[in-house]
């Protein structure tokens, strides 16, 4: 039988999916045990007990100086910035993407500029943002917005212009104005794509967030990682990286289920 025709059953698929995770865990444990056997004060791959103690200290013990639970305080600070960034970017992209997608005049006005701006490396703008907007929250949120909005706009514009011309003409014969075509024909059909697009931009959004927090902040997941880096505190960095990853995955799943719930019609054709 050809390899392309061998399909795993549900159980097999689950086991196969878990296999790389298990391999990673085993590799870590083995590496850690080997290094610690050689040098008990090795910091690079801490043992599970060290990690657990560190997680307990970070997540379930109040900080001695501030009285906060560090992990939760950092998470709240970072997620607030991320939510503002993603929210502003999505709203801007929706308005501009729709305008450019529906009106040829707006497309002529915006498309070249957005294409140009989307090529600016956002991290290169970070010093400018810090100088102009100060070291507070604004500049960090601005970096996320600048980083992901142009791509969202271009994606929405492409989705809107890719709608069949027949559909737009049909709406015109149903007495729709330009506004009503945007509101009742184009907007509902680009919304699922906006959510998918946002899902793809969660990774870059975290990248910009952590970059901004690494340089100047007093709380946040990125701030903590870069703070303890000086002490080679891998027992803090590893749990934080895992936690950030988990947050991103959960955000992705939440957006995906939101899309399924809000736009059931988009699932029918899949």
């Amino acid at each position: 039988m050809r390899a392309i025709n061998i399909r795993p059953g549900r159980g097999t698929a689950l086991v196969l999916g878990l296999l790389p995770f298990a391999a990673l865990a085993v590799a870590y444990l083995a590496g850690s045990a080997l290094r610690l056997a050689e040098n008990p004060s090795d910091k690079l791959l801490p043992a599970l007990t060290t990690l657990a103690a560190s997680i307990d200290l970070l997540a379930f013990t109040p900080d001695r100086r501030t009285g906060d639970y560090l992990l939760w305080a950092d998470t709240a600070a970072s997620l607030t910035r991320l939510a503002w960034g993603l929210g502003i970017a999505a709203s801007l992209a929706l308005v501009l993407g729709l305008l450019a997608g529906v009106l040829p005049v707006m497309r002529a006005l915006l498309a070249p500029f957005v294409a140009f701006v989307s090529m600016v490396p956002p991290l290169a703008l970070l010093p400018i943002l810090f100088i102009v907007m100060g070291l507070g929250e604004t500049s960090k949120i601005a970096l996320i917005v600048i980083g992901i909005t142009p791509i969202l706009i271009r994606d929405l514009m492409l989705t809107a212009t890719a709608l069949p011309r027949e559909m737009i003409v049909k709406a015109e014969t149903l007495s729709a104005s330009s506004w009503l075509i945007a509101l009742r024909v184009v907007l509902p059909q680009v919304m699922p794509r906006l959510i998918d697009s946002l899902r793809l931009q969660i990774g870059p959004a975290f990248l910009f967030l952590i970059a901004a927090e690494a340089i100047s902040s007093d709380a946040g997941l990125g701030y903590r990682i870069f703070l303890v880096r000086r002490y080679l505190a891998m027992e803090v960095i590893f749990p934080y990286v895992a936690w950030i990853t988990l947050l991103a995955v959960l955000l992705d799943l939440a957006l995906s289920s939101l899309r399924r719930r809000m736009f059931p019609w988009a699932e029918v054709g899949r």
């Binding site: 027949e166 003409v169 015109e172 014969t173 007495s175 729709a176 009503l180 009742r184 059909q189």
Partner: protein, 284 residues
């Protein structure tokens, strides 16, 4: 009085001439089928009637008035694909036009107005044989049902002219026969003029009251750009097929079908029975 009057119509794209000096008068309530080889400008002609494109020369009058330069609610359209909106339910699709016409800002109606409109939409859906599918999305319907939905959606606007661009081209023969019966009945009952592009001659002669042939008189490869298509034949069906009446040759039973379904089932509604009694009664 003519519904559509087209005189000396030319359509050029840059150097390429697509339609050349096309003149035709289309009477009210007629059913005109446009046929011809592929790439001869039938669809371009239909787009000109729709207002989706503007003629290079010549003019189009609708009920004596110049055609508006963009599509509008007086001309309905059904395409072979993409005629219905995938994000709306069947009922939502049919209600969309009247909703947008009545509510210019939100494009939605609420309360009693909405309920009245929904009832009207349900009646229209029953008319085209889609009763019971109101809450489905178009992607859950078969191709034939999607085209029925597209017809219902267009007819809700009570267009003076209905333009059909190979609407039944992608359907298999059995389904096509059913929808032909529906199309004929709608044309008989709804006061509208129908212009249909088709490449199926049999379909043209089954449905239309008049068959118009587009052809390029000069079709050698080196001539193709500089000479467009003209009307080469204009065939009025004999005996005349008039909206609301039948000729002895009209039958909804498709000859050659192995299992002719009963007429009522063919049209997909129970109203067929009334339609036939009316049609077979002697004309004044």
């Amino acid at each position: 009085m003519t519904a559509l009057s087209i005189s000396h119509l030319w359509k050029e794209y840059g150097d390429q001439i697509v339609l050349e000096d096309v003149s035709i008068d289309i009477g009210p309530r007629s059913f005109v089928a446009l046929v011809g080889p592929s790439g001869c400008g039938k669809t371009t002609f239909l787009r000109l009637l729709l207002g989706q494109e503007t003629p290079s020369r010549g003019r189009i009058l609708i009920d004596g008035q110049p055609l508006p330069p963009e599509p509008g609610p007086d001309r309905g359209v059904v395409y072979q694909r993409y005629s219905v909106f995938p994000h709306l339910t069947v009922l939502g699709n049919v209600m969309l036009g009247p909703e947008m016409r009545a509510s210019r800002f939100l494009g939605r109606r609420f309360g009693a107005a909405r309920r009245a409109l929904a009832d009207e939409a349900r009646a229209m859906l029953a008319e085209v044989g889609l009763a019971g599918s109101e809450q489905k999305y178009p992607a859950q319907l078969s191709g034939g049902m999607q085209q029925r939905l597209a017809l219902a959606q267009a007819l809700m606007m009570r267009p003076r002219v209905l333009l059909l661009d190979e609407p039944f081209g992608a359907l298999d023969p059995g389904i096509r026969a059913d929808i032909h019966a529906l199309m004929r009945r709608l044309w008989n009952e709804v006061p509208m003029t129908v212009v249909m592009v088709t490449h199926d001659l049999r379909e043209a002669f089954t449905l239309a009251s008049r068959v118009v042939v587009f052809e390029r008189p000069r079709d050698r490869p080196e001539e193709r750009d500089r000479y467009g298509a003209r009307l080469s034949r204009d065939i009025v069906i004999w005996p005349p097929r008039l909206a609301g009446r039948t000729t002895p040759y009209d039958t909804d039973r498709m000859p050659g079908r192995d299992d002719p379904t009963p007429d009522a089932a063919a049209a997909g509604t129970t109203r067929q029975a009334e339609g036939r009694t009316h049609a077979s009664s002697p004309q004044p």
